[in-house]
Symmetry: C2
């Protein structure tokens, strides 16, 4: 409920000198909302999501703790805003990399997007944890986050789609069970009309692998196995690209 209000304000803040510049008060409000979120991100970096506190955030922006309540009605709403921003920042990184490699071969473009996601995660570890780690207890994602959360997988699908006119199906060893065909049909209808079942399935698997690989690295689950994580990541996501039969040139 507040989220929509907050979202509206953000948009206003981002409207950058449009006709809706309105008055000093609402400009100040938009700016302070941003400052509070930045302080929240700093807190995140220092103590992690679980123990992020409104009071610490308030101290950081130089306000009294109760003043923050003029901007976010509760700690959870601040968290929600940070989650949304994190999804969008990650989405930006992925889409920017994808656009920058629009005229590269699909496999290269794919790798560029994957690498962008990984390096965003490395530079924003706690924001990454916020969205892909343990869900914050008691917290429920509002509808707003869904679109933002889908940006990376949609970008990955965009690359696969761009390659599909001239190319064959993805690696598939077994027939796909009926219930999954239904799920994939809905997915196809929503975002990727030109992709066949096995390709869609491999794409969802690749998305799972992308986050799995990043999390394994960040959380240390391959600590005594892999030493060269750069190489390993490229190899893994390259293998996914190959399973999807993405063109190399």
């Amino acid at each position: 409920m507040f989220l929509t209000q907050s979202g509206a304000l953000d948009k206003m803040g981002g409207m950058a000198m449009g006709e809706a510049t309105k008055n000093a008060r609402s400009r100040a409000r938009a700016e302070l909302t941003q400052e509070i979120k930045e302080a929240g991100r700093r807190q995140l970096r220092e103590v992690g999501a679980a123990s992020l506190s409104l009071r610490a955030v308030a101290r950081d922006v130089g306000m009294v703790s109760s003043a923050v309540y003029r901007y976010f009605p509760s700690r959870d709403d601040l968290l929600t805003a940070l989650i949304l921003d994190a999804y969008d920042a990650l989405g930006d990184a992925a889409e920017t990399a994808g656009a920058a490699h629009a005229d590269h071969p699909p496999r290269e473009r794919w790798l560029a997007v994957c690498r962008a996601a990984r390096s965003w995660a490395q530079y924003h570890r706690h924001e990454y944890e916020l969205i892909f780690g343990t869900p914050v207890p008691g917290y429920r994602a509002p509808q707003d986050t869904i679109r933002a959360a889908a940006r990376v997988p949609v970008e990955l699908l965009r690359i696969v789609r761009s390659d599909r006119a001239v190319h064959g199906d993805a690696t598939a060893h077994a027939p796909i069970p009926a219930p999954i065909v239904v799920d994939l049909a809905r997915l196809r209808e929503q975002v990727a009309p030109e992709l066949d079942d096995s390709t869609l399935a491999r794409a969802v698997m690749a998305w799972t692998m992308l986050i799995g690989a990043i999390s394994f690295e960040l959380f240390g689950h391959l600590n005594n196995v892999i030493t060269d994580y750069d190489m390993w990541f490229d190899y893994v996501m390259g293998s996914c690209a190959d399973d999807l039969h993405l063109r190399r040139r």
Copy 2:
């Protein structure tokens, strides 16, 4: 440091009427240590790892909070013990499933182990989060956990190894870069002497996919995409088995 002490006690407790039954005092100690950990797991279930508190655990076992310090010198040590137990419980589940399907075709045995891991995660969600979710801030895994943490991937490798005498390499589209070959050589030396590079690489990828798929399901990252998670999980881990060229019969 305390861990080794605790571990020793556990082993004593588990020795079940051996010659080391010793006296009433140390038996009581072993039992209470278990009770405290069980209360810890109940707390985990209710509030999650991040806000697990010693005081709540103490209340749960009916002790005064300071008494818990006779058993665990700090909250972190209790957490460490719970983490170790979680790894071992998951390892038990996987190994039991593997042993129970020892004379099934490798692919079926593989799926059985994967399913066992998934259903353990579903029934022990917060313990799963404890080991595969966001690392608890400020917490460092002691050496003890490494062996326990390796049990599932080692079990997966056991299945692949059992199939390798009669079978070929795993799916590999690209040559494996030299630094990874080095990493894989160390892995081979430690746990799987008969496996070639591409098979080892696919096995590590499958391990990543297993945890990635379970986490995606548990944390809701495929919420509007997949509805039949049972089928999807089987399909995904089955595809990994096929990429490894595990025999179907």
